[in-house]
């Protein structure tokens, strides 16, 4: 499937599907997220893993959801693109969208989140305010 079809996969409940409109929407996200692609009609499997990840994220943004579940959203993405993704998550949060993300990279969590929940072997170890906690404390809970 093309980038355009993928980016708009989750948000159409109308009977008709407009390729032109979905290309327009996909082009918007391609420039917004800095996706490296020739055009929105390109097949998504021709993109690199990181760029595919960005399109998957664009699909969430395009669907205008109230809650996003992000599982390791920045894995396999280069540093510059990570910043773009964080920025877009911030925009979404300001719009009132709740974001629940999991990550195994502590600095990322401390930088992005408001609150951090630590789970250790299925047990809730505590809920921390990201502004007052630090990596050391979180790590202690993780290995406790």
């Amino acid at each position: 499937m093309s980038i355009a079809e993928n980016a708009t996969l989750a948000c159409r409940n109308t009977f008709l599907f407009s390729p032109k409109l979905s290309e327009f929407q996909a082009d918007h996200w391609i420039s917004e997220l800095g996706v490296k692609a020739k055009h929105s009609r390109q097949k998504i499997r021709e993109l690199s893993g990181g760029n595919q990840q960005k399109i998957a994220f664009a699909r969430l943004l395009e669907s205008d959801s109230d809650l996003m579940l992000l599982d390791e959203p920045t894995r396999g993405i280069d540093i510059a693109s990570k910043a773009t993704l964080y920025q877009q998550m911030d925009f979404a949060a300001q719009r009132g969208c709740g974001i629940l993300m999991t990550s195994s990279y502590l600095p990322e969590l401390l930088g992005v989140c408001d609150r951090i929940v630590v789970l250790n072997r299925g047990k809730l170890m505590g809920i921390f305010d990201a502004r007052t906690t630090n990596a050391h404390k979180l790590m202690q809970e993780c290995i406790a």
């Binding site: 499937m1 079809e5 996969l9 159409r12 009977f15 008709l16 599907f17 390729p19 499997r45 021709e46």
Partner: protein, 323 residues
């Protein structure tokens, strides 16, 4: 260009095959009559292949097509013998197809046993059902209702002189109209796009909130409808309800879809490609019989063309992956 637009490759292949026969036998192959014959011979497989294309793009397969076709033609014949009403026959054939297509769809999406096994089962069961309904013999039309001039029995037959302006018999036009509708629906409706999405990656489609099971039921019902319609055409052509008809037709339909550029792993394929695939097969069959080439060579040729189509498809896929 051919790499980007696989349909052009199929089109060129058809033109090439046609050109070879036209060169060998110009008097026959440069006349319009042969085109009409080709369309008439393509109707049954062509209409069935419409539904099969959706199934294969959806990463499925329907082996019960030939059995549904037979069941539809038997129920058409039985209804005609009871009522003598052509419109009820059409209704019977189409609803037979729709009902058993829907049943296939429900089984495929619920049993999770893979469409190959599920439709293999329904292929055998429905063939048996068709034979049961027909009491194990062909259902011929009762004498009081024999009307050779009725449109119902001329959907796929050659046109008389006075109606030559129609170019093709009604059945061929039905094929063309549904071809256009399905091609548009595949590209410009959410359902069509969902069919492709489920076919290319079912797990991802499910996570995107696409109702995977309903899409599957829809696809198999749609396919059943067209197998039923193909059964109507078969009844129209033979004026018989033959419970053994259409055996092996499912494989011809699948072959046409594959020649037309679809991938059996799903997510790819086009209606126009399939139609060209059907025309390639009937060009070979008509060409060989016009040249008095024996049947066995014709079958070898068809086999070679399918293998070539698959080889080209694999080659194209690996080129794209490398690019």
């Amino acid at each position: 260009m051919i790499r980007k637009h696989p349909i052009l490759g199929v089109l060129f292949a058809w033109i090439a095959i046609y050109a070879i026969f036209a060169y060998l036998k110009p008097n026959t192959f440069l006349a319009f009559d042969i085109v009409e014959l080709m369309m008439r011979q393509s109707i049954i497989i062509g209409i069935g292949a419409l539904g099969m294309t959706y199934v294969i793009i959806n990463a499925g397969i329907d082996l019960s097509a030939g059995s549904v076709l037979a069941l539809s033609s038997v129920s058409g014949a039985l209804v005609y013998n009871q009522t003598g009403s052509p419109s009820l026959v059409v209704l019977a054939c189409l609803s037979t197809g729709l009902i058993f297509g829907c049943l296939n769809g429900v089984l495929v999406s619920r049993l999770k046993a893979g469409p190959f096994i599920v439709t293999l089962g329904s292929m055998l069961a429905l063939r048996g059902l068709a034979k049961g309904f027909a009491h194990e013999k062909t259902v011929s039309i009762v004498d009081k209702f024999v009307q050779p001039d009725l449109l119902l029995f001329n959907l796929a037959s050659g046109l008389p002189k006075s109606q030559k302006w129609q170019l093709f018999p009604l059945g061929a036009w039905v094929w063309i109209v549904f071809l256009v509708i399905l091609a548009v629906a595949l590209n410009y409706t959410t359902f069509g796009r969902n069919v492709v999405a489920v076919g290319s990656n079912e797990a991802a489609a499910k996570l995107c909130g696409i109702p995977v099971n309903s899409v599957k039921v829809g696809v198999y019902s749609l396919a059943g409808f067209f197998f039923g319609l193909a059964g109507l055409m078969s009844f129209s052509r033979t004026t018989l309800g033959d419970p053994t008809s259409g055996a092996g037709d499912e494989l011809k339909m699948i072959a046409a879809v594959v020649i037309g550029g679809a991938s059996l792993s799903g997510g790819e394929g086009s209606m126009v490609g399939t139609a060209l695939g059907v025309l390639i097969m009937s060009t070979i069959s008509i060409g060989c019989s016009q040249m008095a080439i024996p049947n066995w060579i014709q079958e070898i040729l068809t086999g070679v063309i399918i293998l070539t189509a698959v080889a080209i498809d694999r080659w194209r896929a690996s080129k794209l992956a490398a690019a």
